[in-house]
């Protein structure tokens, strides 16, 4: 055998190693070893079964040992397979860590808190929030985005947001919550209407008037909750108009087209805010965040949450709901336990 032959073999061996893509193949190996079933492992990896089998076979060729015993109808680890499983897991853990460190460095995550705020929070409250966070954590960047509740929950789950302020009820699985804050709603009516003449308004007295609210898609739980409470208290609006912008809602109220159900605002030209008898409606708001793996980043997020909660209480007239009396629920047979 000539020198040149050896050289060529070396190259081809190198090429096959590169093709093998060891980390990807080890991932396949570990998945099959944990499931002991090619179909389930393929499902877990989000790939088809034939390429999975091929990758495991290529890994076996590369390492020169059989990893699985497929002679029976079951898949079993061979002795070398068992030996290599712990090693493979160790490598994958280290690789995952490299990626997460790189991602953090790329996003500058640790130095930034990305938070979502509802669009109707109000300018002064947003300004107070930014000022208070700057005072508490001058070392951090605050990246605020105008985002509805549903979108915030989605973004938090995807890791595109770190924290937010949401209206309840919302899908809260896997997320953390700050204290629940309540803010009673009243009704915004034209100043000239007979409703503005009394200091308080019964929800049922709004009958026959249309309602204008923020779009359902921004916070579907709170929207459904609000309309259910209206009906429960005798107000079934003939039509519900969705207004993305509070100024548009104000326009509909001024024109006498609709009434709006909003937290207390100062009476301005042409409109009056009146409380509702018995406070039947309230927004329930809280901070929400995801558990960050990095302790520094988590501290940044919880600092934001503390600041935001304090600002909502101080500037937005929200009060903790800890002492709220339990809602009365009488399940019917069709909604009873294990119906």
């Amino acid at each position: 055998m000539s020198k040149i032959d050896i050289y060529v073999r070396g190259i081809s061996h190198l090429i096959s190693s590169l093709i093998v893509n060891l980390v990807g193949h080890l991932r396949c190996f570990v998945a099959v070893a944990e499931e002991l079933h090619f179909g389930r492992a393929a499902e877990r990896l989000g790939m088809a079964q034939p390429p999975l089998s091929q990758r495991v076979q290529r890994l076996e060729r590369e390492l020169g040992v059989r990893l699985f015993d497929r002679s029976s109808r079951k898949v079993a680890l061979t002795a070398p397979g068992r030996l290599l499983l712990d090693e493979a897991r160790d490598i994958l853990t280290r690789v995952d860590r490299i990626y997460s460190v790189a991602e953090r460095a790329r996003l500058g995550e640790v130095g930034t808190v990305r938070a979502g705020l509802p669009s109707d929070l109000g300018g002064p409250i947003v300004a107070a929030l930014i000022a208070a966070f700057r005072a508490r954590r001058p070392d951090l960047r605050l990246d605020l985005r105008e985002t509805g509740t549903a979108e915030q929950v989605r973004a938090l789950a995807e890791g595109a947001l770190d924290a937010g302020i949401v209206r309840h009820p919302c899908d809260s699985r896997g997320l953390e919550f700050g204290p629940m804050l309540g803010r009673p709603l009243g009704v915004l009516v034209p100043a000239a209407s007979e409703l503005a003449a009394s200091p308080e308004v019964h929800l049922a007295d709004l009958g026959g008037r249309d309602l204008v609210v923020a779009p359902r898609e921004e916070a579907p739980g709170a929207y459904d909750d609000l309309l259910a409470s209206c009906r429960r208290h005798g107000y079934a609006p003939d039509a519900v108009h969705e207004a993305r912008h509070p100024q548009f809602a104000l326009g509909l109220v001024l024109a006498g087209t609709a009434v709006a159900l909003v937290p207390r605002v100062d009476d301005t030209a042409g409109v009056a805010w009146r409380p509702l008898v018995g406070e039947p409606l309230a927004w329930r708001t809280s901070c929400i965040w995801r558990r960050a793996g990095d302790p520094e980043h988590l501290r940044a997020i919880t600092d934001f949450v503390a600041v935001a909660t304090a600002v909502l209480r101080r500037e937005a007239g929200m009060t903790p709901l800890d002492a709220a009396p339990a809602r009365r629920v009488v399940p019917r047979p069709s909604s009873g336990f294990l119906a």
Partner: protein
């Protein structure tokens, strides 16, 4: 029972059966481009219905004879709730066929230690004596929890899970009895009565603590597994034909009109099913049969945003979503 007969429903389905299943699947995949677009459109419409009803939902609807399907997150793990009574019913009939139990055997249930629930024996005050198979009648038709737990005690949880595995239900596990579920629900919510669980759910942290609502920590399945089970009941493959016929009769006698049934307000369409209900969870699995012979297995599992006990739209969307899927499959 003869070995030949056992082959039709037993632990190891004969090769021919598996082949025909594989053929059905490949046929389902050979849909034309146009039809696939229509199928994509229907899943979007179903998602829109779920959103409008204030729920997140998983759905699988399959034509029992052609294998054509509509799937919305159909492989996601879901909480079975009372739907666990269906695999229990199947295990019961398999044991009856094997001679392990006598369906006519009388059982006496005292008033003490009766599993809680709103219907059937769960709500009765005095001692009850009836046959095992009549207990299954109450367990399916009115979701009687006391009857279901008495049947589960007799059949055994392991036997239910073994039957599910034998029928190829890879993601279906019955973890708890109705009684254990009730106890865990009250303990996790820190309340003494079921009605109080609802108001505790106003605190968003509570839902995550309730094992009963977490598919990874309670009796679980997938919509796909459940339509497989229903199809096998309708095709006489889940148990011998007389057992499957008995199961179809019970599922057809279920009383609830508000979910799957509400989506098919047609006198000539037969809707059979079994509901599953826990706070914020509303499920139903069943079968829909048209007079032209079209028959569809349906599994819909939903979770509502509002922690509200009475939510008619969330009940009705189960029927609406199922009808959209069935109508898409019936389009030529």
């Amino acid at each position: 029972m003869s070995e030949a007969k056992r082959g039709a429903w037993g632990v190891d389905p004969p090769q021919a059966k598996r082949m025909s299943e594989a053929k059905r699947v490949s046929e389902a995949k050979r849909v034309s481009g146009a039809r696939r677009d229509a199928r994509g459109e229907v899943t979007e419409r179903i998602e829109a219905e779920f959103r409008a009803a204030g729920v997140t939902g998983c759905l699988h609807v399959v034509d029992m004879d052609s294998g054509r399907e509509v799937a919305v997150r159909a492989g996601d793990p879901v909480v079975l709730a009372s739907v666990f009574k269906v695999p229990l019913l199947v295990a019961f009939h398999r044991q009856a066929a094997e001679g392990v139990l006598d369906p006519a055997e009388p059982v006496t249930l005292g008033p003490a230690d009766r599993t809680a629930g709103p219907t059937g024996i769960s709500g009765m005050l005095d001692e009850v004596r009836m046959s095992l198979r009549d207990l299954t009648f109450l367990m399916i038709t009115v979701s009687d929890n006391a009857a279901a737990d008495a049947v589960l005690d007799r059949v055994g949880r392991d036997a239910v899970n073994a039957a599910a595995a034998a029928l190829g239900l890879r993601d279906t596990v019955v973890e708890v009895s109705g009684r254990e579920l009730h106890e865990s629900l009250l303990a996790d919510a820190g309340v003494t009565g079921f009605a109080d669980v609802w108001s505790r759910l106003d605190d968003p942290g509570v839902a995550a603590r309730l094992r009963a609502l977490d598919p990874l920590r309670t009796s679980r399945s997938t919509p796909r597994d459940m339509t497989r089970l229903l199809s096998m009941i309708w095709r006489d493959e889940a148990a011998p034909p007389d057992g499957c016929a008995a199961m179809r009769r019970l599922l057809g006698l279920q009383v609830w009109p508000h979910r799957l049934s509400s989506g098919f307000p047609f006198d000539d369409v037969v809707v059979s099913g079994k509901t599953g209900t826990l706070p914020t969870l509303r499920n139903e699995v069943g079968a829909v049969e048209y007079p032209d012979g079209g028959r569809y297995a349906v599994a819909v599992f939903t979770r509502s945003l509002l922690p509200v006990a009475v939510l008619p739209r969330a009940d009705a969307v189960i029927g609406t979503a199922a009808r959209l899927a069935v109508e898409a499959l019936r389009r030529p």
